[in-house]
Amino acid sequence: MVALPGVDPSWSAFIDVPSTSGADAPGTSHRWHYLDNGRDLGDGSVKGTLLCVHGNPTWSYLWRSFLAAGSAAGWRVIAVDQLDMGYSARTGVFRRLAHRITDLEDFVAAVGISGPVVTVGHDWGGVVSLGYAHRNREDLAGVVLTNTAIHQDPDRRIPAPLRLALAPGVHGLGTRTTSAFLDVTLALARPALDPAVRRAFRDPYRSAADRQGIANFVSDIPAGPSHPSYAALTETAEGIRSLEVPVLIMWGPHDPVFSDTYLEDLAGRLPHADIHRFERASHLVQEDADTAATAMDWLAERGIGAAAPPAGTAPPLDPGDYVPLGRRIGDLASGPEGPSTAVAEMTPAGPPRTLTWRELDDDVAAVAAGLTALGYGTGTRVSLLVPPGVDLTVLIYACLRIGAVIVVADAGLGTRGLSRAVRGAAPDVVIGIERALLAARALGWPGRRISAGSLSRAKRTALRVEASLGDLRAARPVSAPPEPPADADAAILFTSGSTGPAKGVVYTHRQLSAMRDAVQRTLGLGPGTALVAGFAPFALLGPALGATSVTPDMDVTAPRTLTARALADAADAIDATVVFASPAALRNVLATSGDLDPEARTALGRITLLLSAGAPIPLPLLESVQDLVPAAALHTPYGMTESLLVADIDLSGLRAAAAAAAAGLDGAGNGVCVGLPVRGAHVAVAPLDGDGAATGEPTTGHGVTGEILVDAPHVKDRYFRLWKTQQDAARMRPWHRTGDVGHFDAEGRLWVEGRLGHVLVSAAGVVTPVGLEQDLETLDGVRLAAVVGVGPSGTQAVVAVVEGGTARRRPHLADAHLAAAARAAAARRGVDLAAVVVVPALPVDIRHNAKIDRARVAAWSGRFLAGGRAGTL
């Protein structure tokens, strides 16, 4: 045996196991190798046993992190080498799936496992472990699965890499004669495996004879009903539908073999499963992500195992008065407002497209009926790839009406980000404009297709479109399904992805309604209001509020394409008094405000409320906006996809906050002031400890910096298929952890200091970036600043990376004057700046052009200031 990094030698064990498998002659016995941490645990209270089964072509080594984590958490972990695999015996017999399930039962009987058992499987070991779980339910306490498949749809071809491995001439050569199959599998790890780990994985498979098991495993993949293992696979696949134990599925979506299609199939068979997709992980998800710790957390959370107390139950929801999100559409349609405009959509040429409340109500009902007729309903996930406007509004309320779950991802994520989001959401149907359907085809997004516009017959065929929105409207009326339950899932909204891969955020109907109520309460919007919806998340709430809404003519993928003219036209079209926009949009509105005619200025003069949301907006920009909309109260609400409204402040409030900071009010300053928590929302901070972690008891005391926590009826339900992320976010029940850090001042205002992940810890203590960045941005020649740390946490060197004031293309050190000014500003905050670097441009998020990717800046600065090749920022 080579050295096995990560394996305690005492775990390795052999046992002779009498076989009862039909593959062997009676009386046959096989020597098994397995890893067992039982000795680590002593005689104390063991919670139970994790029975780990590897797939092809790995061996028990794959589970080493589970053994270590199990020892720490009080779980016995037994990881077998399946027969003909790893260091277990080469039996010389072709062992099919049914034999392997029996083999595992033989092993368990021989090794003697008592107490609760949790099966853990990967790849084809997932199938074997599920076969065992299905047939041995007495002690079964849970099931953990990682990239695996239990069912091969006879209508779909098996994954291309496996088809290749099975091809005549390739199979023997690729799997047995050479180690190609093994090498390719090991090469799937992201990041690449350490050479010593790769050697350990390869060690039991050095000769062709050693690899016979790999070859047989590949041949045992049932590609169709005629295959000898098809029956065994089907029995397990159907059998597990009745499993009632908790299930955890941890998934690497970059797996070229077991794609998300197989996850979807498993989720359908095990609908109660907790799922976590490790967005960046591949087939060997155990190597790519910390699956062991996640599994241990899950076991504890689900209360699995002897003597484990049951996990805390979710806090009771405030029952409140639940009014479905779309209720007001019907109310207004049947009242005196019926013939007045409900929604309008500005078009590049020609008059705006409008629907009255009555038309909107009818259209929603028609589309809902069309969707029902196509078989969509409760729980159907509908990905909506339609730009904001009349059609999107109709689709949203139609889907909610029939209990379907809308999936909304912003095209501003970029093609890759959007594709990742759509795939992750596993929609049953994609409803999109032609461009989206083309992308859906090119990128292989899952789900059936409905086109928002009308397409030629050829295009419909090419894009697999089964119906258009027009077809839905024209469908034979069917009786409406009952209103969906308040606590059923209603929407999956994707985050902007400015801090890592976009996450799907699940809202129930009750929570969406609470969001509407929070907006109504905080901003006083309701029937009679007319608003310009230039910012997507709020746009969908217009009809729910009973407000008339209009979408301006702009490219929604880029908020900065909103012109002053387009904004004024939209406002004029419905006599709007309210505007929702993002800072990037407002910047462009200002930049294009020079050529406004008096009529347009009059329209903007009618605006009484303007909201800038989505990213912080600098005070000077807001002051300029005020000149454009002189009658408007300017609000900059603070929130996130997980809770659209947390706090709110207007321009006069911002001026008062700045004055308070200047006057030295306790806690005022050092961050962006976002105002007072909105009514109905509880906000607190979990104080940071010396390591920059939010470990303190939640407090509202002023001047205490911590992670911002929010609890409100309109906070999201959970993250979609991100079990671990959800656990982290909800660790301090009932609080939702926002991932932002900040503090309160003595008058209760909240000040945001940056992202928790961007907090740095220097030798002098914890430093949050925003306050110092604001100071630096007041210096001559600094347009934008990022404050980041380089070096190990706890002794990080603090570095300012600034944009502006340079004609040079390459990053360079600031001149002595700027460096001295920056250091003086930092010193006033007790921070020693190691370096001031000037770059042509800082990386900012696509959607808002405002949120700096400080993690990237920090990594780049680390390379730059180490004297190595820094690459591009």
Partner: protein, 322 residues
Amino acid sequence: MTVLVTGASGMLGGAVARHLVGEGHEVRCFQRRPSGVAGAQDVLGSIEDRDAVTAAVRGCTAVVHLVAKVSFTGASADFDRVNIEGTGFLLDAARDAGTTDVVHVSSPSVAHAGTSLVGAAACPADPGRARGDYARSKAAAELLALARSTPAFRVAAVRPHIVWGPGDTQLVERVIDRARRGRLPLLDGGVALIDTTYVDNAASAIAACLRRIDAAQGQAFVVTNGEPRPIAELIAGICRAGGVAPPSWSVPGALARGAGAAIERAWLALGRTEEPPMTRFLAEQLSTAHWFDQRRTRTVLQWEPTVGIDEGFERLARHYRR
């Protein structure tokens, strides 16, 4: 307390001796040339002379050992004699004389081999990996010194990183001299972060180590200002203090490292004794980050630097304006 300071004719040795005099200790200085430290007694002699060393340490409670051969050129045997054997003589003599506390002054180069150091901790000295005869012999000496440490004969090592200040001939004068002649390029734009030690801080850290020898014995501590700066800023600061224009040209670090290696070989082959204009080690020092985790040093020694880097530059400027 009577303290023997070896190597007090150097900038750091002199500063240590003055610091200890200022703290009220009786200070004896041992080196080949007069130290010029007011209030201290000079004993002249060579560290290679066992008898002279034995005489010097007699009656001393504590020793701060700074004598070392610091250069690029010279035979390996010379480095071994001064840096390893000399340290051995001194430690033997000190123990025999009843000395109880020893601070051995070492260098961060004893534990590192040319790669960039970013917030690094003080690793054990490693003569096998150290680059060049100086670092190798200093590494061996440190291991030897720390191995002698017992509760009754307490030895600790202090490794100040790049010590500079008024009167510094190693770094400051060379930088100023070369800049004046236009022969000082920056490497890779001089962006690598380097942490340095103003001489008074190094001296106070050594004195602190003597005070805290109970907690410090058997260990090595890297000492710096704890203010990493891009090397271009350090060089500019030194140049401005010396009244010359900072370098404005840069060469690629890889080129300088290659050239340094070539020059080293040529220098050694030609048997030249003066310091070469560039060595591979120097090129690495000037183009890769070198800064350290100071938390353990400050906690154990209960010490903080008192002269910030900007204050240091001002003092340097005052020195040159005189």
